[in-house]
């Protein structure tokens, strides 16, 4: 009788360890996947920017410095590694783009160009996607971090090689409300 109880307890513990381990691994993969989602959108944004710059270059020649700022911010963002550095570089890129979009307001002809409108819609959408993917990533990463610190899951954290995932922090309040730069529509309320 005693041995049966002992065996049952051991089996129970073993089952729990397996469950907790798998839970952590699954969360870890979700974090990796969440980051990949962001990465896809970042790459898309980096690809779109040269198109935009080339399209507006002719019309906005004397806004050279703004364009240069966008290009150099993009190049820095491409070179960035790690969550924190990427977050910082991408934040700067978002701001540079915001300034460029604000400037295009002064060029009605340019805004009316179909190509520019399309590029702006694409960039707006990509920016939104980055924002939403970031929310998802941060949610999953927070869950993962909490799980591996909580007792008793923390006992198997070492086994699952779990380490805290970095969150994508947003530096300034202005950026927190994902900037909606929308010049492409001239509908009421836009």
């Amino acid at each position: 009788m005693g041995t049966i109880i002992l065996l049952a307890i051991i089996a129970g513990i073993a089952l729990w360890v397996v469950g907790a381990y798998n839970g952590l691994i699954s969360l870890k993969n979700q974090v990796v996947n969440g980051w990949k989602q962001i990465d896809v959108q970042l790459k898309r944004r980096h690809d779109l920017i040269p198109n935009l710059v080339n399209t507006v270059k002719g019309a906005m020649d004397f806004e050279r410095s703004t364009l240069d700022a966008v290009i150099s911010a993009r190049n820095r963002a491409i070179g960035a590694t790690g969550v924190q550095q990427t977050a910082k570089a991408e934040g700067e890129l978002t701001q540079a783009l915001g300034r460029l979009f604000a400037l295009t307001e002064a060029y009605p002809d340019l805004k009316a160009t179909k190509n520019v409108a399309q590029l702006q819609e694409e960039l707006t959408s990509t920016e939104n996607k980055i924002g939403f993917a970031r929310q998802l990533y941060n949610d999953v990463a927070t869950q993962y971090n909490t799980k591996q610190m909580q007792f008793p899951t923390n006992l198997v954290a070492g086994l699952a090689k779990a380490s805290p995932a970095e969150l994508w922090e947003i530096e300034d309040a202005g950026e927190r409300a994902v900037p909606m730069v929308d010049l492409s529509s001239n509908k009421p309320g836009a």
């Binding site: 707006t124 996607k129 929310q135 927190r176 409300a177 994902v178 492409s184 836009a190």
Partner: protein, 345 residues
């Protein structure tokens, strides 16, 4: 996470309700079938030998089989039928900037809700409206009218799509699509049976003749027959009321979840204001699918009224109340943000 727990509970409840709905539907058809059989059996029991005796309950057998077939069909093809009935076409290659924007917005909301991208459809109708349908997230479709694309700004469109994605994520779409299929079937059955009975009695009625001949109608048989006919008459109305009751509760929740996805309750509030302002009816969407839409496609007397009766017959809560709740959410959000809290709502 409490959000996840809520979501899970909501999905469970929708799964459970879908099962009960199918069960109730088949039970209803069983009553329609076997009730009819029983009435006719009682009525023909005393008939003189040689005339018709209703012994084999074939109405019941046929109606249970057809109920099962309808459930299976609604489950497998309900979404397609709903889309087909509205005349929607699937947006695969966006041609205009507006269509491109719609696809982009749907993709954004798919990311925000962590679901696969649903199929996008456009309903050729000038009145702004939108709905979602499907069995689960993998088979979901989001449809918007041309009028919606023309009236709303990008943020508002995003809010409406977020509302629809919330229905998809909560699995409301499963229950609602099943209901749409069943409402259609019940309306059809009630129509057909009514016509059959009408023709039968006009042709002289073997039943009536038999009864008069024997001199005494079986009173129990008559009562059951009356009850049975009553069910047929009332069923389409009751099924529609049921759909509306189910839908009403889910609209507030989808509004709230949608606002959480976009983190922008004001956009949905202003979208709803615009939808309320468009008073024309959405012609392409029939009453049978009204409960799927973001706002009632036939804004009759009730869509803007409040009160008990309006609550009872409207498929959607009064838009005013929904807007007030969303503005409340926006106010809470603004308060939190000025307080410097970084945590999402």
């Amino acid at each position: 996470m409490s959000d996840d727990a809520n979501l899970f509970a909501q999905q469970q409840s929708n799964r459970r309700r879908s099962t009960w709905l199918i069960f109730g539907f088949i039970l209803f058809f069983a009553w329609v079938g076997f009730g009819g059989d029983l009435a006719f059996w009682l009525l023909t029991a005393d008939a003189p030998p040689g005339s018709y005796h209703h012994v084999v309950p074939f109405i019941g057998i046929v109606s249970i089989l057809s109920a099962a077939a309808i459930c299976w069909y609604s489950w497998r093809h309900g979404a397609e039928r709903v889309l087909w009935a509205t005349g929607a076409w699937e947006l695969i290659e966006p041609a205009t900037p507006e269509q491109k924007q719609l696809v982009n917005v749907v993709e954004e909301m798919a990311i925000a809700s962590g679901l696969p991208r649903p199929r996008v459809w456009i309903v050729p109708d000038a009145d702004p409206n939108a709905f979602a349908t499907g069995r689960d997230a993998a088979t979901a479709s989001v449809a918007v009218t041309e009028g919606l694309l023309a009236t709303l700004s990008r943020d508002e469109l995003q809010a409406v799509v977020a509302h629809e994605m919330a229905h998809v994520r909560n699995l409301d779409v499963r229950l609602m699509t099943l209901l749409a299929g069943m409402i259609g079937a019940i309306a059809l059955m009630s129509d057909g049976m009514g016509r059959m009975i009408g023709r039968g009695s006009r042709a002289g009625g073997r039943w009536a003749g038999g009864r008069r001949g024997s001199g005494k109608g079986n009173p129990l048989g008559v009562i059951i027959l009356v009850l049975w006919l009553l069910t047929l008459v009332v069923a389409p109305v009751v099924s529609r009321l049921l759909a509306m009751a189910v839908s009403r509760k889910r609209e507030y929740l989808a509004d709230a979840t949608g606002a959480q996805l976009t983190r922008n309750p004001m956009a949905l509030a202003s979208a709803l204001e615009k939808l309320e302002g468009a008073t024309a009816a959405t012609q392409s969407i029939s009453q049978g699918a009204a409960h799927l839409c973001i706002v009632d496609p036939a804004p009759g007397l009730m869509s803007s009224k409040e009160g008990f009766l309006a609550d009872f017959v409207a498929s959607h809560p009064p838009i005013r109340q929904r807007i007030v709740r969303l503005k409340g959410m926006a106010y809470q959000q603004a308060k939190r943000e000025t307080a410097g809290a970084v945590s999402p709502p």
